[in-house]
Structure formats: structure tokens, C-alpha cells
Amino acid sequence: MIPEVGQFALILALFVTLVQGTVPLVGAARNNVRLMSVAVPAARLQFVLVGLAFACLAWSFATSDFSVANVALHSNSRLPLHYRVAATWGSHEGSLLLWVLMLAGWGFAVTLFSRNLPAALRARVLAVMGLVAIGFLLFLLATSNPFERAIPAPAEGADLNPLLQDPGMVVHPPMLYMGYVGFSVAFAFAIAALLGGRLDATWARWSRPWTTVAWCFLTCGIMLGSVWAYYELGWGGWWFWDPVENASFMPWLTGTALIHSLAVTEKRGTFRSWTVLLAIVAFSLSLLGTFLVRSGVLTSVHAFATDPTRGIFILVFLAIVIGGSLALYAVRANAVGGGAGFGAVSRESLLLANNVLLIVAMASVLLGTIYPLIVAATGGTISVGAPYFNLVFPILMAPLVFLMGVGPLASWRDAPVPALWTRLRWALAVAIVTAALLPFVMGTWMPLVAVGLFLALWVVAATFVTARQRFAGMPQRGWRARMTANSPAWYGMLVAHLGVAIFIVGVTLVRGYEVEQDVRLEPGQSVAVGGYTFTFRGIAERAGPNYDALAGTFDVHHGDRIDRTLHPEKRTYRASGQVMTEAAISPGLFGDHYVSLGEPVSEAGAAGAWSVRIYVKPFVDWIWGGFFVMALGGLLAVTDRRYRVALRPRESAAALPAAAD
């Protein structure tokens, strides 16, 4: 009964979106307030209905209703409750439903925080989000019904893929989807601006917080995915350039460009058509990512069960949504126009360089991801692996990070180079000297480590100079008054940039100094890795809720004392018989110890010698720390009062000439 309620709610939601996607648009075109006012209740109703459907599915999972095919295939009665709930989005159908729920949730949020928007803009934004929802609801109902019954019901479910039975699975997909789908708001704003033919500084101010929040979610989602891969896949890596990782990284790069381009549009009224294009591209890439994952055109560790009809459906949907948006852009971009000019070296030109580099980086990831498709289509065969990305990516990112130090100091319109040089030469000198010396402290001097550290230190030093200069030039007395006089958005920028520096430190030091060893250890034997001694104490059997594990005990010595004890496991999941390696990791500010069990390698079996993989990974947690700090910077920026101040129509009309002075 419950699943049918969910199914029915989804069908109703489809009808609601049909109204939400059309009536307000007609209203906005005819300036009919009554038609426009349909948008808000429709968007709210859609959220309630989709939320109900999602709750029904979650309920079916929580109560292990195996008469629902989806539950029978992806859950098991012995699975702990939190994984049963997380299994709701562990399948293709469930994760799509989560997508739709997020979309409806963002629409609902727009209805709450858009009271001050002009009625036509609000109606158009919600209508565009409704149109996107139509496509996804149709897709869900027509090709991927999560509520399909399997009668007679099997006695037991097939269990959730053991890879997904992890706390990371509970939070990673919702975060990532919040980010993906969050770009739909920026997208809807862009389409609304193209339809209305009005795009000015106030438009940018309205779009900015939505874009930044979506970007924060995406940043956290990518971070969690990376952490999850690090400890769950047992390879000790944190990024694999897998097509699905790339699918989430491309919108992130574009979203980062969009955040910066929106800043220019808000402050200076320029980059308008470019900003609109970026907003369209960011969301299009989220959709493309969905296509790549769901259609199975690319093989990946993330691949769900694939079905050609789904691929065709999404392809048509992509053609309509992205093709339609870009066609609209081609017709209307001229109307939203360009803006004021700027000097060859100015904050505008530096942000333009930022945008170009980010978009080229995004294009290189896109090319690397779909290159196998292009080559296959022309009859050849080739595969692109991590070497391509590892070569291309740092080359593009290094100048970007360098400019990150200069940009915040440069003034709008025109920034004389000599003045910039005077301000930054000490930061540059400090960064170069420290970066040249630090690798000696770590043990070995490596050129790439020095380059990486230079970039990170440069960002830190330049950020410090930026802050000092701002504070020195302020009229307020006392540090407290000066601290509070700056906007949260400005602090957010500084924090996010420092996050990039933290990230670079992590990547550089892990790549440079990680130690990896595969050894054969008898119980009682020790091995020294990276200044630590690892002693294998033996193996014990342990029963989990739905698996049986062989758990090893390793003492880690540093000097004479036992520093910590690690318990890596080898788990056999009862339902599927799949064997999973559960690495034991002890995280630390200056590095992780990572022990992962291989196979028993002696006649004595599990009681005898094992092959063991041991890593010492210096500063690896800084990679995710950097991501976290970036997201924190974004959140800080969103708290800026100017996004919340009620905008009277008079004020917004006056904003355009003011911005274009």
C-alpha cells in the first residue's frame, strides 16, 4: 500500500510540474499577475508530493518490504537501519528520486527566499525549475520506477553493494546532488533573465547566494566522495579521474568560474552574457554528468545497472534542455549585453583570466572523459587514463593559483603593474625562499614539491598582504571595529583562497613523500615504514551484523612507545559472498597511517603470514581540509547582509546605472 501511495504522489507531482512549468511563463509574458502567482503554490505542492514519494520509498527500505523490486535488489533485512535508509539512494531509481527531491527542495527554498524579487522574475525562475522537473519525473515514471512490485516477494533481499555500506554513502550522494541540482537555480535565473531581456547588477546579486550555496554543497560532496574512496576502496588514493568523478568535477570548475564572473557582473555590470552562459553550462554539465552515469556509455566503478532506453531518454532530454537553453542564448544574449570596459591589467582582466583557465580546465576534463567515445565513433580505439589528467591539470592550475594571489589586490577597471609589484614583491620573495627551503625539512629536495609549496605559500602570503592592506587603509579605530567593518563576503573570499593553499600543501606533500610498502608479515613480525615500526599481532575472527570479518591487529611504534593500534579487516558479506577490504587508518594532522590486509600467504592460512600493505601518507588530510575550508569560505560569503536586505523596486531600478558608471 505504502509504495502505491508513493507512486501516486509522483504521478500527481508530474501534473503539478506541468502547471508550474507553463502557466507562470504565460503570465510573465502577458504581465498577468494571477497566472504568475500560480508558481509559488505549485512549487511548494511539488515539493510536498515528491517528499511524500521519497518518504514512502525510504519507509519500504526501512521496513524491508521485499515485494518492492528495488528494495529486494538493494537491501537486506540484516542490514543496519541507517544503511537500509541510505540504500534508498543506493540504486539507480532511488538516486534519481533523490535528484528530483533535491530539485523540488531547491524550488521550495526559492519560494521562501524570493519575496523581494520582481513578480515576473520569480514566476519565470520557478517555471524553469518546473520544466526541468517535468523531464526528470517523466524519466523516473517511464523508465525507472522505484516502486515497481516484484510479486511473489522474495524472502530475503540481495543486499546493498558492500562498497556502499559505509557512513560516506549516507552523506556523500545527498551532498553531491544538492550541489548538482543547486545549479538549477542559477540556471533558472539565467534563463529567466534571457526571457525577460533584463540582466543587471541586482540580477547578479540575487543569483550569487544561490550559486555559492550550491557550490558549497558540491565542494563538500566531492570532498566526501574523495574521503570515501580513500578509505573504502583500499588503494590509498584520493582521486582517480574516473568518469563519474569527472562528471562532478566539471560542474565544480564551471561553478567556480561562475562565482567569480557573477562578482564582476554585480560589482561592475560587465561579463553579463558570459555569466549567463556559465550558469547554463554549469547546470548542463550536471545534466551531462547524469547522462554519463545513467546511460552506461562510459564504463566506471560507479556504473549502475544500465539500460539503453534510459540512455536514449536522457539524451533527448539533454538535447531539449541544453539545446533549447543555448538556442535561447544565441537569440537573446545580445539583448542582455556586455558592459563597461576595463584595462589590460585590472581586477576584471584577472578574473577573466581566472574564468578562461577554469573553463579550459573543464574542457580538458570533458575531452578526457568523452575521448573514448569520440575515438570509438571515428573507428579507432584508445583509452585515456590518469596520466593525461595528471599531466594537463597541474599545468592549467598553476597559473590560476598564481593569479589568485594577485586578483584580490588589483583594483577594478585599471590596476597599474608597478603598484601591484611594490605590494607583492615581499610576498613573492617569502614564498620563493620558504618553498625552496621547506623540502629540506621534509627530508629530500624535489623540484615539483618546491613548486607546489611555492604556489601554496604564495597564496597565503598574498592573502596576508591583501588583508593587511585593507586593514591599514580603514578609517575605523581599533581592530574590533575594523574587523566588523569588512563584509563577510570579503572574508569568505580570503578563507576560500586559503582553503586552496591548504589543499595544494596536501596534494604536494602526499605526492612527494608518501611511503607505500607491501610486505609479508608473520604474526609477531615487524616492519619499519617511514620512521614508524608496524608490528603484526595476529588475526582474530569477528562477526558483523551482515558480514564475517577477519580482523588484524597492528601496533604502530614511534620510537619506543606504542603510538596506536590499528585493526584492518577482511570482510565477507553473507548475502552476496563479496569480499571487501576494510583498511584501518589513523588520521593525523601531519599524516595518516594506513594498513590494509592483502591475502594469507602461508600454508597455515589465516593464522599464518599475510601480505599487508602499509602506507604512511604525510599531510593527506590537508587535501580534504582544504576542500572543507573552501566550502566554509563560501558559506561565510553567503551570510553577507547585502543578499538579505529587502530590495525595493526603486532601488533595483537605480542599480543598473550605478553599476555601469
Partner: protein, 176 residues
């Protein structure tokens, strides 16, 4: 309307065409044109003994597997434990083709993770990979006693593929 506003749409249309073509040739559904045909001959330097060669001719009269892998290929790590188990069971010899890889990195990879291969050869420039129609790494071929390719697994070998397809096929081929 200026031409430059049309550029994004143009790029998207090209992309769309490739995606559509990609859909029609789902790499996991479309069988390789080489199945049922004689395996393309190769004679390559061995990974662990570069002065010695190994070729398709050496495997005549045996049913064998050719596993295409590389140290840079992440999915290869997924299938690796399974290959190790298969090698331990000693049912069928596996020949490893280290594809577009630096031999020292390939050797280090095997030293760390275990070596399931009866023999390993190196395809430095990927030419043999092209002859064999390698789409992506990893791929695994089943070759019969007469040197005819009988099956091709694209992507990592899975428990299902091994138990339901590869092993029954190998047993049948070994009997004939």
C-alpha cells in the same frame, strides 16, 4: 544575432552527436568483431625478461586468457584480486598484456599486488592493443586451442562474468 552567440550551441550539437553514437555502440553490449576469428598474432618482449619474447604461437594448443591491463588503470585494481584467485586455482593460464605502460611501473605494480600471470608481455606503443581492438583497459580475452578468440570481457572481470561465462567456456574449450 551574431555568429559568436551561436558557438556554444554548435559545440553542444557536436557533443550530442558523439554521445548519440556512443549510445549505439554500448561497449559492453556490442560483441567484438574479432570473436570467432583468429587472434591477431603478436610477439612481444616479456615484462620480467625483456630479452625474451612471447608470442601467440607459443600458446598454441592451450586454452588461455589474455588480460590487458596497465599500472595506471584504476579498474584493473578492482579485478586484480579475482585474477589472483583464478591463478591460484590453476584452471587456465593467464597472459598479461601490460598496455601502454612503463615496464618498471608495471613490474612494481605486480610486485606490490601479486602476479596472477603465467607470462607477462609489454605493449609499449599500444600497437598490439589496436590489433586486438582494445577499447579501454582492462579487457580480457578467452582464446581456444586453435588460437581463435572465443570471448571478450570489456572492463573488469566480475565474479558473475567469471562464474557464468568465462569458466564454463574455458572448461568446454578444454574438453574439445
Amino acid at each position: 544575432m551574431k555568429m559568436r552567440w551561436l558557438l556554444p550551441l554548435g559545440i553542444f550539437v557536436v557533443l550530442l552527436v558523439f554521445l548519440a553514437m556512443g549510445l549505439t555502440r554500448d561497449p559492453r553490449e556490442v560483441p567484438s568483431p574479432l570473436i570467432g576469428k583468429a587472434a591477431p598474432a603478436f610477439e612481444l618482449a616479456q615484462l620480467h625478461a625483456p630479452d625474451k619474447k612471447l608470442g601467440t604461437a607459443d600458446m598454441r594448443g592451450k586454452v588461455w586468457l589474455l588480460n590487458v591491463w596497465a599500472s595506471w588503470c584504476e579498474s584493473c585494481r578492482t579485478e586484480h584480486p579475482l585474477l589472483l584467485q583464478l591463478a591460484k586455482a590453476n584452471i587456465v593460464p593467464i597472459v598479461g598484456l601490460d598496455y601502454k605502460d612503463k615496464p618498471e611501473e608495471g613490474k612494481a605494480w605486480l610486485a606490490q599486488r601479486g602476479d596472477p600471470y603465467r607470462m607477462s608481455v609489454v605493449d609499449l606503443d599500444g600497437r598490439v592493443g589496436i590489433d586486438w581492438g582494445v577499447y579501454g583497459v582492462p579487457e580480457t580475452f578467452v582464446i581456444d586451442k586453435n588460437g581463435v578468440i572465443r570471448y571478450k570481457q570489456i572492463g573488469p572481470v566480475t565474479v558473475d562474468a567469471l562464474q557464468q561465462t568465462i569458466l564454463p567456456l574455458v572448461r568446454e574449450l578444454q574438453r574439445s
